[in-house]
Symmetry: C2
Subunit: 760 residues, 2 copies
Amino acid sequence: MSDRVFDVDPYAITTTRLADDRMRLIESMTSTGNAHMGMRGNFEEGYSGDTHRGTYIAGVWFPDKTRVGWWKNGYPEYFGKVINATNIIAVDIEIDGEKVDLFTGTHDDFRLRLDLRNGLLERSFVYATASARVHLEFARFLSIETPELLLQRVRVTVLDGAPHVRLTPRLDGDVHNLDANYGEQFWSEASRGMAPVPHLSLRTIPNPFGTPQFTVTAGMTAAAAGLEPGRAIDAPLQVGEVFAGALAAGGAAELVKTTAVVTTRDIHQAQHVEAVARLLTASASRSFEEHLAAHTALWEQRWARAQVVIEGDDEAQQGIQFNLFQLFSTYYGEDERLNIGPKGFTGEKYGGATYWDTEAYLVPLYLALASPDVTHALLRYRHRQLPQAGHNARQQGLAGALYPMVTFNGIECHNEWEITFEEIHRNGAMAHAIYLYTRYTGDRSYLEGDGLEVLVEISRFWADRVHFSRRAGAYMIHGVTGPNEYENNVNNNWYTNYLAAWVLAYTSDTLDDLPAERAAELGVSDDERTQWRAITENMYLPVDEAMRVNVQHDTFLDKDLRSVDTIPADQRPLNQNWSWDRILRSCFIKQADVLQGMYLFEEDFSTDELRRNFEFYEPMTVHESSLSASIHAIVAAAIGKQDKAIELYRRTARLDLDNYNNDTEDGLHITSMSGAWLSIVQGFAGMRATDAGLAFAPFCPADWTAYSFTVGYRDRVLAVRVAADRVEFTLAGGEPLPITVFGEPRTVDGTLSVEIPAAG
Amino acid sequence: MSDRVFDVDPYAITTTRLADDRMRLIESMTSTGNAHMGMRGNFEEGYSGDTHRGTYIAGVWFPDKTRVGWWKNGYPEYFGKVINATNIIAVDIEIDGEKVDLFTGTHDDFRLRLDLRNGLLERSFVYATASARVHLEFARFLSIETPELLLQRVRVTVLDGAPHVRLTPRLDGDVHNLDANYGEQFWSEASRGMAPVPHLSLRTIPNPFGTPQFTVTAGMTAAAAGLEPGRAIDAPLQVGEVFAGALAAGGAAELVKTTAVVTTRDIHQAQHVEAVARLLTASASRSFEEHLAAHTALWEQRWARAQVVIEGDDEAQQGIQFNLFQLFSTYYGEDERLNIGPKGFTGEKYGGATYWDTEAYLVPLYLALASPDVTHALLRYRHRQLPQAGHNARQQGLAGALYPMVTFNGIECHNEWEITFEEIHRNGAMAHAIYLYTRYTGDRSYLEGDGLEVLVEISRFWADRVHFSRRAGAYMIHGVTGPNEYENNVNNNWYTNYLAAWVLAYTSDTLDDLPAERAAELGVSDDERTQWRAITENMYLPVDEAMRVNVQHDTFLDKDLRSVDTIPADQRPLNQNWSWDRILRSCFIKQADVLQGMYLFEEDFSTDELRRNFEFYEPMTVHESSLSASIHAIVAAAIGKQDKAIELYRRTARLDLDNYNNDTEDGLHITSMSGAWLSIVQGFAGMRATDAGLAFAPFCPADWTAYSFTVGYRDRVLAVRVAADRVEFTLAGGEPLPITVFGEPRTVDGTLSVEIPAAG
């Protein structure tokens, strides 16, 4: 199943193979970003073979029309999509008049390397024309020191001949989205010019939906040692410079191109040219190498608090390093208006928008690896969008707030009804993230303040969305899609019902703990509170008494139940081989569903219950969501299935590296990048944030010598190292930290070493 | 709820009110067609207010791209749509340089009339400019004698002043579809010219799906008495002629424009110009009035065998006349490659393609009102598309044949998964139409020949589409949409399961009646036949034992069950006022579902069963499908609920006339036009085609003096007249006909008169 194009290297993505038919995969894997912008690992000089050229700017999007005869009331008006922006990496190269192109040309000694510590992307090869051979070396990175900047270096060294070399660094605005039906373009040129620096402004075309237009301006400077400046390029959607000259055998030339990108999200359009010029002027005081050193130093600070080290398994190390690197390249909490898109800056397919993945899978990681402010920013992002969530609920004729499945601005903007107004469990994840934050930090101020406003509106939604079944004498939730998106429009999805009941209880409990005025302030009536308790207490939860398992939804057990190992290997992944009809009707599960709920509310269940449900559902689970394997790994570890946990960890950690789901060519699975970390920390190390503080129950996978990681917790930083027989906790400073290890209360003050009991 | 724009007139659509805000509705209602082509009731001179200009050519369509991020395996590749074709009615009119426009200009004495016997559309009004007043009169019809021809006449009579009058008859190819996302055009000009007649050829743009491109060529001739020819129009997408001159007070001018339209469906593109010229030359030998007389005579022949007369109720008469007129304008069986689109030539919304409506609602009408050849052609249409139906099944990974929900060429081309591969009950309707034809005609040759090939492949589909539920010990069908499209993706829809089991039994029975070689010829194995019987005998059918009703689908009874009268009037129709989410979750039923099945298989159920199910479901039914009221009217009549039957008849008969569903502006509900006829003949007259021949159990609605209709049956034509106390059967000729009246066997030979017992 795996599809390994890159070498195993603990801290880099490297290859010496240029596979024409795998270019999109290679481009995805070598994507880089700095939270402000990012791009796929496209080639500077262009590539005439199959390629997906993509540059994306954080927060810049377009509302695409999608009415193709199917629109009904309550459907979103538009499909929001991230849009492919100006190609800023372009550097055309001609050797004796021949355009360098790795698809058509003769080349040798190809090397590609993405450094997973600092995001430096390097590439080199020997290129031969009829008259000459040259060695070409490329390096580029997106600065995390000055996120508007892209820095590039291109070196040409002559091996044979005395070729005429021509380098054309440029900005190219002639870009399209992959998914445009009729090649429609979402940009038009707003302005361009050559002074004070070559610059190009693109503006998104007008839209009928009242969402903002964006202008993105890129400006560049370039300098080439060893070549002479030629006539500049200044044409529609194109600006650039030209450097050319004859090089002697053994001679060399070096081009440094610096590009600055600003948008109307931050700077008024009229100031754009001035802004990019200022950024470029400031950057000119340092060389490419000096910029790289400053940028790398900042990355080192990030690793100091987040590095995971796996001793004795380079594949595993590469997996976790790749994931954390890509995650931090996408989001590091600097811009509160942003959230974390499922593909980051690496592709278009999921619209680059905000999904529930943030709350469900990323909050636990950012709580542990970054300042609580980052999570606080993510929570406030949703609070700020409460009015839009109200709008989404009203679109369905419902009270309260419905957070969107996909959004750029809080308004639902996906285009599948079975997702947009049926996959409503996401609304519970918004509430649960508040709970996670409060429990982890011990700080109730967000919960009792803005958080409660969010909880109340989500509760109102659930209270209106349930109905009372007279036949069953219970509240039900019909017409939903659970986390298992391989079923749509089911009734009484256990996970959704459980989560909805929990939200109503959590909101009620929070209100009960506060003075009555707080409820009055929020306009919550006694009748509402009574109703919320009634729903909590009378929520229908499908359970099979004979098997003693929670049932995924009402008629799940009527299916032809069978395990995944009955599917022929050549029919996997199902979503690429089976019709949607067959997938929907089959028993096979895309990702944790009942188990997702039991993971979130683990304390509500005995280990036996957890085991019974795991053993019933996991064999039917194909893990074709990037969000699946990690949750299963954690649950497997919790019920003592260490081998299963390790198997599932490998899948999540190397999902993209080994292209498990055969879709990495579309972009990386950014929001599941936390899965490997969760599998190690919550799975192998058994870490839980409980009311009593952090708890651990670690084991070390047999193939590893040891692993270590660091978590921040209530103003302290705790380092954990787990070897086969022993776990060591080290507190870098601060007050002594009470923790629980294998169920026993302990205190860490300096270093605490605890023996790991042999597995039963 | 009703919305009556037109006067009540038994044989015409007339109005003297030009309501600016109802133009689309008016255009729909005055649509005309002749099976070859058709158009909405647009104004010749143009109209600058809100309008939907539409001309449609039978069998000419385009596969539109619809991939907007949602495509999954098994989804159709394209969305087939009827495309708006050349505007052939255009005649611009200027009075003293002012363009006549009823939206902006001063006018009076407006009259509009569509003759429901022959399709002549007439319009007249007095138009005033600053300098003159003129009377303008328009007449046009699409010939059923020569279906390529449109004939038009425009008269100008000067009332005041001595205006300069300019008439510009032209062909206008600058047309768009209403539903294009980005205004994309589906046509490009293939050629145009002025000799031998002004002509314009449009060709559909290329498509990536391999479906044929079409060229449509229109040519015109025009002659104007009282005006002089001016400079012709010959510009991109436009050709035409100009006639102008000064008219004295009391003076008049008359323009006759004849247009011929041919397509590459019939004639090679290279011969188009010659073909239209030949048609126009031939037509020139007769005047407009002579053409009209010949055309009207052919319509009279149609009415002689299909006329329904309702004595004493002009509204009811107008309803049935309008319906039969529109139906015959859409399809009269001449072209075997065609079928009957839900909107005929009156709009774009349902893609103008073939739906299951044909088999379910139109076959019974055409069997009775036209030669059996017409139904035979409709059956052969499906047999010819058996390979494509196999393709559709294979797209879902299934065996056998899946007839499409929507198609132009047999390949599924709609774009909602919940319809395309879930509303599979349609596959049963294909089989049932064979059964209806065989039973009505007594001719088993189609059934045992081509029909059996269709039945076997449909049976193979069902046998693969069911699954065996070990828990229930029965076969089930999960993941379907029943006829009630206000629910999607349900399990064990009673109608679908019952119909599927019936198909398997009918196919098995048919095979059993034939020599074993026939099964061998068709490659049907004994194992297959055993399996089909097993499924028939063990099909799960949801039934509620307490209420003794058939249950619409597995969890229907868990809903918040309530009757339609609990919905506030301002929330109807639901599909325009409620979100799709709310509609899906509610108990409200769009159209007959369980009752559709009990209607089809009435003989399987007692009257008590029928009554219990009617009384349970009808109160929850909103009849927001044009296909609903008629089936309910028939069932209501069968269980003695005459008042309910009459109420539902009115709704179906005047659905468009009174715009019940508030969507007639999009076009007429052509395929439900049979509903009024079915309600009268199967409902009020209680006609059934049984194995023993035709049976009747008539009553006459209290508000009517009497009603009469004619049916063809096995080479005879039977006229039926039903008054309050007596039904009279008259055989026009042929062998005496045994029939059943009120359960008693009788014979019609000449005239038979039977007393109607007083209602109990």
